[in-house]
Amino acid sequence: DVKVTQSSRYLVKRTGEKVFLECVQDMDHENMFWYRQDPGLGLRLIYFSYDVKMKEKGDIPEGYSVSREKKERFSLILESASTNQTSMYLCASRVQGGSYEQYFGPGTRLTVT
């Protein structure tokens, strides 16, 4: 079974803090994604990575950065957390050239106060 794990299920941070969200997948997938999920807006793509050290901006990259130093690990960084970044963050992975299936982690519920 494909497994995508995220470092925390729930996280509470203060405004201005630097926040790291970690994602690890165990299926040797080339592609990895970070989404945020908000009620009424669905999943919105923040960043994705085709392979190690490669990254591409998604639809809403402002206020975020990413790091992919190893194939299995994709990190999302909030440089200076703000209250409008309170959300559910979902990581996903997909095999290169796989057209339809992304495997999701359980999500991290981040609250910024």
Binding site: L43, S99, Y100, E101, Q102, F104, G105
Partner: protein
């Protein structure tokens, strides 16, 4: 206009009912059409996918794609309380796009 539109619900039905979930989209380049199911406090998981137009059946679930109308549907027969979840449509051409999801409750 949003790229993918989906009625957010919530939709409540009695156990055993037939459920119809729908999405409309605007980008004719989409080729793969998927339905993901997301239980509370979990990540989405792929339920069904269809390539281009047509129907696909898997047990109690049927996915239907009408590319000419840019409309996709998921039908659930003999719905069960365990089907209570949020259902997300998704589609891909160059990019992966998700609908906002419909929350379904199946009442015993």
């Amino acid at each position: 206009q949003k790229e993918v539109e989906q009625d957010p619900g919530p939709l409540s039905v009695p156990e055993g009912a037939i459920v119809s979930l729908n999405c409309t989209y605007s980008n004719s380049a989409f080729q793969y059409f998927m339905w993901y199911r997301q239980y509370s406090r979990k990540g989405p998981e792929l339920l069904m996918y269809t390539y281009s137009s047509g129907n696909k059946e898997d047990g109690r679930f049927t996915a239907q794609v009408d590319k000419s109308s840019k409309y996709i549907s998921l039908f659930i027969r003999d719905s069960q309380p365990s089907d209570s979840a949020t259902y997300l449509c998704a589609m891909t051409g160059q990019n992966f796009v998700f609908g906002p999801g419909t929350r379904l409750s199946v009442l015993p």
